[in-house]
Subunit: 92 residues, 2 copies
């Protein structure tokens, strides 16, 4: 995690990312950025719902941004990957 | 597809859903609803980017809604699944 208040979703268990988000809020963050690329976008969507349903009912999804990134693989060819960025707020 | 201007993303190839969205716009829809549940949410995100990057550069994602649905399985136990609903517009 290079950016402040940002959680990058990867291949770990979904609860790892749920706890990372909840911890950021508990440490005083008013917004948490949740980012995912490719197939784990659906895991990031699950993270938002588990945070809200089990830990922080007031949590709001302030914005969802979808974008495309170009990545270069080992052979030098470019491929496109979809990125999703959820901006989560503490809510009421 | 039971609702007008709605494309439900499932297990087919991503291009099936890209073409379904583009066809709806070509048939005069000003908005297209793209919906997905569970693991295929990441495929729906890919659909938005392929429509925009290859077919309709003006297309905008007007809103993204994330919700939870409860489903009853064959044994009668409830399980929760994350749903994502993209509202796409024709744009400028």
């Amino acid at each position: 995690m290079t950016e402040e208040n940002t959680v990058y979703v990867g291949q770990k268990n979904v609860m790892s990312y749920v706890l990372a988000v909840v911890t950021q809020f508990n440490n005083g963050a008013s917004e948490v950025n949740l980012k995912a690329r490719g197939k784990v976008i659906s895991r990031a969507a699950d993270v938002t719902q588990i945070v809200k349903n089990r830990f922080m009912p007031s949590m709001q999804i302030k914005d969802v941004r979808v974008s495309t990134e170009e990545l270069q693989n080992e052979e030098g060819t470019m491929s496109r990957v979809t990125c999703m960025h959820f901006i989560l707020t503490r809510g009421a």
